[in-house]
Amino acid sequence: MNPAGVFSSLIPLWAVLVSLAAVPLILLSSRRPNLREFWTLAAGLVKFGLVLSLLPAALRGQTAAADLFEVVPGVRLALRADPLGVFFALVASGLWILTSCYSIGYMRGLKEHKQTRYFAFFAVCLSATMGIAFAANLVTFILFYEILTIATYPLVIHKETPEAVRAGRKYLAFTLSAGVLLIAAAVWTYQITGGDLSFRPGGLLAGTDLAARTAVPLFLLFLGGVGVKSSIMPLHSWLPAAMVAPTPVSALLHAVAVVKAGVFGMIRVTAFVFGPDLLRRFGLDTVLIVITVTTILLGSLLALRQDNLKRRLAYSTISHLSYIILAAALLSGPALVAGLLHLAFHATMKITLFFCAGAIAVSLSRENVSQLNGVGRVMPWTMAAFTIGALGLSGLPPIDGFVSKWYLGAAAVGGSRPWLAGVLVLSGLLNAAYLFPIVQRAFFRRGVGLEGRREASAWMVVPLVLTALLSLALGIYPNIFFDLARRAAAGIFGGF
Amino acid sequence: MPEFLVGHFFYWFVFLLMAIGLFGIVLKRNLIKKVIGMSIFQVAIILFFVASASKWGGTVPVLDPKLGVSDASRYINPLPHCLMLTAIVVSVATSGVAFALIISIWRRYKTLDEPELLARMKNDPD
């Protein structure tokens, strides 16, 4: 990504704004649900189209940049669709369309209240996610990061039960504190660099001669800032609590957009703010690796204990997010490629699983694993998709989870830390241990009270089958994502 | 040290007055007495300014044909007096407002005793 590869274009801006523009339309058509959902879907399609139109340039290693205006002296509100950003945007906007369809089925199936608010804030969340993906500097990043924090809150408390309100408070307490730390870190960086906060491949701070007593606290501030959303281990407990949200929210936001925004922020911080050299110099990569390995294993172990299906999936998410951070912490090109692949592939698989959980909740009103006996008989499509997702998360071919885990393992072995491959294998086994029993219950045990129950509506089943097929397809043909990830990694670590 | 004390006698006087005033404002329970304290406090400052203008051998700053205008040092500095004229007006206005407030407090709560007033306010719904 040399400066020559940067060209000016407003497409990133439109990609951010399109769902924001849909918000007033959604609000205005609150009395006409069909029109309202049309706006959501239209915005989703347009957004996806815009992101797709950025893809060819990104694959060539070029960057579309939209410079707006100065927000803080020396720092402009600027969007840059670099390969990394396009990668994330592609995943989020693509899955938004499917989630929107699913949401329609889910919300109508459960006759949820305040659907307008739900769809409106969902659109805001997507805008913020695009903004995070395309943010060219830390200020823009923080801007959208905080918008995402706030816009997710109404979705978390959507049910308005005391439990939901409590979860909402917890969510805000964690994320707002994180935002504060991130701001502190950004201001400090601003001071160190003398007013420059642009993300730069290889590290914004790489040229500065930081002392350890500056670099380490600064990194910890950043870690606290982006670590909450990416739910690394001591900072994770908001995520299981936030599972009281409607399932599509858990699916897209708490498996893809919000948490991946945290992970994405982590990649930005490690590769674009600090840079590999600096991290290595102060041993910060080791810190990160220790944290993530702990999170991976503990997350999986905790998932074993959960009976609530969504909470189980949440702990699984926690552990899988750390795969990606682990990949970033390995500080090598292949590892980053593997991490990015996992960012995309985990999204497809986890969203499938969440969709399935939601479909079960809608048509059977069941939320606990122990109640799932025999579900496979009445909801074959749903449980088939679930099986694909479960296989993928455990890392079995030909699902896409295998691809990313394979590369990650290879990168770990190729680097100087082969023992990490053992961690990966172990966690794969744990994944299987907490996901396969569900499949087994669903298909091989006799259930009670299932007479007359059917699949959920097509609005829900079609998206979840599609995401499952997508997981399968990407497992067989991951090339586009692979190329894009290579481009992104090449910008940082050079060709390899 | 004695020269310092004697040489700055008007400071001591002013500070004494200020202390008396503050004593009245802070420790007296009756609101009227607080206002009296305020007045003493303000007078102390007015005196401070006026005193700062005086000097030995100076006279009233009104043009005296015998002295003429050439020797300004024979007159005392008129500026602080002018300033204090304004300050007096301010203090009159402040006292006026204070008394008006006291009257309306009295009408509502029938007391000017501060602890009593606070107790009655506490029992008073908004």
Binding site: F69, E70, V71, V72, P73, L77, I142, L143, E146, I147, T149, I150, P154, I157, E160, V165, G168, R169, L172, L176, S177, G179, V180, L181, I183, A184, V187, Y190, Q191, G194 | L22, I25, K34, M38, F41, Q42, I45, F48, F49, S52, P80, L83, T86, A87, V90, A93, T94, V97, A98, A100, L101, I102, S104, I105, R108, Y109, L117, M121, D124, D126
Partner: protein, 506 residues
């Protein structure tokens, strides 16, 4: 005419209107409000245009009565005074538009005319304080606006005279301390003109008289701007005053004290004096940090919304004080930006409280619930936005004040202050989300009768346009000013900074 008289124009305009109102209202009672409003509008226009007059960095000096300084009274229009007058006049304009209905609701007929006259005198005082270049003249205007404010507070609730009396006592002490400081300064230097004094003080150096003068003046300003721990009068005064008064006082009143501090510390005594010779800047910074924490914690415990906002003002004044106390370029920029930002936020919040009082008859947090939101969706939305800004979330203005203040702290290596700023945004989040959560999530205690009859359940009783529009304008301004803050900072605020301030460059 306007360019040459620009510095004196706004104070005189308000003074004139303040005098005209009682005379005009002798015959036409309704005229009072419109006179006040048009004067404020004109003053806002003049003040805004003044900014462009001084952008080249040259101050416009205005000699009262033609007497040259330092003997005569001089008015100075420089970037600082142009900025501050613009802020206070524009906010006053917006609040006054809102005030018409609340004044009608809060005050008996006979008190409305004097009320507007007092508002004009208060504005005259504020503008005069900012424009004058003479310390004693500043005192006079300080007392003019304080006297007007005592009256404006006292016409509120049943308890308001007591609040006003307490305010009067402390305000009087503050004024007297300031005057005493001026006296010491005059005795040491023989001058009352700010520009003149600046030159003299350079020669005089830290003489005891000068230091005592500085201490007394700071004490005076501290009392008037309610800098912790001198804030005792503020919560009661804000709570019991009529809505219109508290929404004028809260965004504007405390800013004047902040202006005074900036003027005296940076433009008269100078950086060297306040940071090295007598490190008062450090004292102010620590007191402000304490104010931020104390105000935020107190605000959490309040049930009455206006009282909560009052304590939040104590905290926000602390932000401004902290920026001043940091005594570097970005701290001061943060303080100045916060003067604007806090003005907008607090005005918006107090207008919201006024709207609630108007329609619900109270502004008690414990009695707010979804019902309030259903009846007043726009007011609630404005509150939410202002709350986000108080917490300091981008892209609202609150975020950017915190940004500059945090930067100023880091520049000085003051990690404690950085921590205070960050912790306080979380505290703000606690006490504002408490309210937001109630408004959106707390089910109405008594389901409205209309709920059962379907369509009627959606009865909205939002306040009228004359109250709603100012509230929403302020809320929108929070976003717009936030996004465009770099223009304000670079275009105006950086030109205000006194020369030689550390860390001019980013």
């Amino acid at each position: 005419m306007i360019p040459t008289n620009a510095p004196a124009l706004t104070p005189l305009l308000f003074l004139f209107t303040g005098l005209l109102i009682p005379l005009a209202a002798f015959k036409f009672r309704r005229l009072a409000y419109w006179l006040a409003l048009s004067a404020t509008a004109a003053a806002s226009a003049v003040a805004l245009s003044n900014i462009f007059r001084v952008l080249d960095g040259r101050a416009i000096h205005y000699r009262f009565g033609g007497w040259p300084p330092p003997i005569g009274i001089e008015y100075v229009l420089d970037p600082l005074s142009a900025f501050v007058t613009s802020v206070i006049n524009v906010i006053a304009l917006i609040v006054l538009i809102h005030a018409r209905r609340t004044v009608e609701a809060d005050l008996p007929q006979g008190k409305r005319v004097p009320y507007y006259a007092l508002v004009m005198l208060m504005m005259s005082g504020f503008n005069g304080i900012v424009m004058t270049g003479d310390f004693f003249n500043l005192y006079v205007f300080l007392e003019i606006c304080s006297l007007a404010l005592y009256g404006l507070v006292a016409v509120g609730d049943r308890k308001s005279p007591v609040a006003a009396f307490r305010y009067l006592v402390l305000g009087m002490i503050g004024g007297c301390f300031y005057l005493l400081g001026v006296g010491f300064l005059y005795m040491s230097s023989g001058s009352l003109n700010m520009a003149d004094l600046k030159a003299i003080l350079l020669v005089l150096g830290p003489r005891p008289g000068v230091i005592v003068a500085l201490a007394f003046m700071l004490l005076g300003f501290g009392l008037k701007m309610a800098l912790f721990p001198l804030h005792g009068w503020l919560p009661d005064a804000y709570t019991y005053a009529p809505t219109a008064t508290s929404s004028l006082m809260a965004p504007i009143g405390t800013k004047i004290g902040a202006y005074g501090l900036i003027r005296v510390l940076f433009f008269v005594f100078g950086l060297q004096f306040i940071t090295q010779t007598v490190p008062v800047a450090t004292v102010i910074a620590w007191l402000s940090a304490a104010a931020i924490l104390y105000g935020s914690i107190q605000a959490m415990a309040q049930d009455e919304m206006k009282r909560m906002l009052a304590f939040s003002s104590v905290a926000q004044v602390g932000y401004i004080g902290l920026g001043i106390g940091l005594a570097n370029a970005w701290g001061l920029v943060g303080a100045l930006l916060h003067v604007l930002n806090h003005g907008l936020m607090k005005a918006c919040l107090f207008l919201v409280a006024g709207n609630f009082r108007m329609k619900l008859g109270h502004s008690r947090i414990s009695r707010l619930d979804q019902e309030a939101r259903r009846r007043m969706p726009w007011t609630t939305a404005a509150f939410t936005l202002a709350a986000l800004s108080m917490i300091g979330l981008p892209p609202t203005v609150g975020f950017f004040s915190k940004w500059y203040l945090a930067w100023g702290s880091i520049r000085n290596g003051s990690w404690v202050f950085l921590a205070v700023i960050l912790v306080s945004s979380l505290l703000n989040a606690v006490y504002f989300f408490r309210v937001v959560e109630r408004l959106y999530l707390k089910p109405a205690d008594r389901p409205p009768e209309a709920e059962k009859s379907g369509a009627a359940a959606r009865v909205r009783s939002e306040v009228g346009a004359s109250m709603l529009v100012p509230t929403l304008v302020l809320a929108a301004a929070l976003l717009v000013v936030g996004l465009l803050n770099a223009f304000i900072v670079k275009g105006v605020l950086l030109k205000i900074l006194p020369p030689g301030l550390a860390g001019m460059n980013p």
